[in-house]
């Protein structure tokens, strides 16, 4: 599809530019903002991936936190190389999410939302209770092992892009179609012989793998983690990125992360309160921007793309998770 390939080309060029800038152009501050954007985009994409089956998964925050702690343990206690720490973090997030999902994904809608919220808060409480991982004060000295330390910002960008591309690929695959079918009507999916619970658990596990790696990248970028970093607000901010970017496309989540992270860094440096900023952004988005930035971008570029591409535009069916 030409329209799609134009978009992908733009995204790939932008990715290359960011990569080059991170490695050669950005100072320490620039690199830290780019890493923050990558980590936030991963959390947002993870949350959005579960929205494909129609569930709001606040427990994203918990899997993100589990990933951060597991990778910190791998690095600080055992001195394992960074790739091992990242993979361990992703697997830990996915594993816990399978256990969590096996019980809770039988419920849906409001019940799943509330249970996942409670899980996020309970996970945070558990972190504060384990003395071995620093209880309330958390863990420090989480530095990527030596040969890769200099390249860490670049690695963060590459890993984030690879994971985002992977999620996008899955979303476009047959599996993604099944996810969306479950969102629309799970009884129909069940009736053709697919096990809805297993598919939903699979979706949650993939998303939680990404959240876990995101948490691990966060831990190694910050060098310090504490339970307060992993409250349910992680999921709420992720939702803000998804919602403000636009939930119709994975690039929406990325755009939201870029936009809000940069704006947030700027405003908070001026002394604005994080809570008021994100709260205000969410309320405003719900009142005036229901399709998000991606929706606006799409509307603005549609005439241009149409000129480039003479084939009739595909149906732009709005994908909303609203029941």
């Amino acid at each position: 599809m030409p329209r799609n390939s134009v978009g992908m080309l733009v995204a790939a060029l932008a990715a290359l530019a960011v990569l080059g800038y991170t490695r050669f152009g950005a100072g320490d501050f620039g690199a830290s903002v780019i890493m923050l954007i990558c980590v936030n985009a991963l959390a947002a994409a993870s949350l959005r991936f579960v929205m494909l089956v129609g569930e709001l998964n606040v427990a994203t925050a918990a899997f993100y936190g589990i990933g951060a702690y597991v990778s910190a343990i791998a690095t600080v206690w055992y001195g394992l190389p960074l790739p091992v720490a990242l993979i361990a973090a992703g697997l830990a997030g996915a594993l816990v999410s399978v256990l969590f999902g096996y019980v809770t994904l039988r419920t849906k809608g409001a019940y799943f939302l509330l249970v996942s919220f409670a899980f996020a808060e309970v996970a945070r409480l558990v972190f504060t209770r384990i003395d071995a991982i620093g209880a309330n004060s958390g863990m420090t000295g989480i530095f990527p092992a030596e040969p890769l330390a200099l390249w860490y910002p670049t690695i963060t960008v590459v890993v984030a892009m690879a994971l985002l591309a992977g999620l996008y690929g899955l979303e476009r695959s047959t599996l993604g179609t099944v996810f969306r079918a479950i969102q629309n009507n799970d009884s129909v999916v069940q009736s053709v012989g697919l096990n809805v619970l297993v598919v939903k658990i699979l979706c949650l596990a993939v998303a939680s793998f990404v959240a876990g790696v995101g948490g691990a990248l966060h831990a190694h970028a910050n060098n310090v983690i504490s339970p307060g970093d992993f409250s349910f607000l992680v999921a709420v901010f992720a939702l803000a990125y998804v919602k403000i970017g636009g939930e119709g496309h994975i690039l929406g989540a990325v755009m939201g992360a870029v936009f809000l992270t940069v704006l947030g860094q700027y405003l908070i440096s001026l002394g604005a309160q994080e809570a008021i900023f994100f709260g205000g952004a969410l309320v405003l988005a719900m009142l005036i921007l229901p399709d998000g930035l991606y929706g606006i971008a799409e509307r603005l570029t549609r005439p241009l793309l149409r000129a480039l591409d003479r084939t009739p535009p595909e149906d732009s069916v709005k994908r909303s998770t609203a029941a």
């Binding site: 019980v103 019940y111 008021i276």
Partner: protein, 294 residues
Amino acid sequence: MELAAQLLINTLQIGVVYVLFSLGLTIIFGVMKIVNFAHGEFFAVAALLMAVLVNTAADEFGLPLWVGYAGGFVGAVIAVLVLGLIVYRPAFERYLRDLVGSFILSVGLLLLLQGILLEVFGGVPRVVPRMGDNTISILGGRITELRLAVSLIALAIMLLAYLLIQRTRLGMALRAMSEDHEAAMLQGIRYRRIALYGFLIGSVLAATAGALIAPLTAITPAIGGDYLVKAFIIVIVGGLGSITGAISAGFLIALIESIGGFFLDPSLTTVALFMLVIIFLVLRPQGIMGHAEK
């Protein structure tokens, strides 16, 4: 025996506040089919206002404490009522029966209100001047006069809310609405109007809970959060939208917590409660009284 009486008295004290708080949440879910994450902020607004008003009445005007208590209670409830009206019309009314939209909206509101409360009231814990500090003994269990009075008032409000839902025409409309809103509309019930009433009743219940808890604890703008997690556990166990479920689950959770709090410490009790919810979900996903969404 004395221990049992004491634990029951503790259960009553914690339970009534939990029930008022979760009743509001469950009524709002029933009519609007939304989960209001900002519910805890309404509670916090009332608690903070109660603290400010009682202190002002005593310090600035030299009024007797009970006048301050009564005035503070009324003022807090009215303020929350106004706040409810302000956020309902332009915002919540557009996201009736939209779980995702209303979640985002109410979480945004939660953060916004929490930030504003922190700006306005500051983070320093506030205390309401005490009255009724004498201890009474009931069957060997001990409770202060103030705590007993608060529990009885909360019980009375709970009973009023229950009668309102079960016995009045408005209550019947609310119940019809949460059962099947289309059938209710066919009967000539005006959905938007009833949804507004349901939202306001729910918010006022949160306000009464906040105003009643104010004299018993130190209040910060973050106080809503702790109650919100507990209330979620209560409505999952009791069944979303169920009145009797919220009442029975509220007292059940309070009982477990007061027994658990006696032997464990509070944050471990919350973890234990969550484990209970998980077990509960495996055995009975639709709650004690509720029906799981189909």
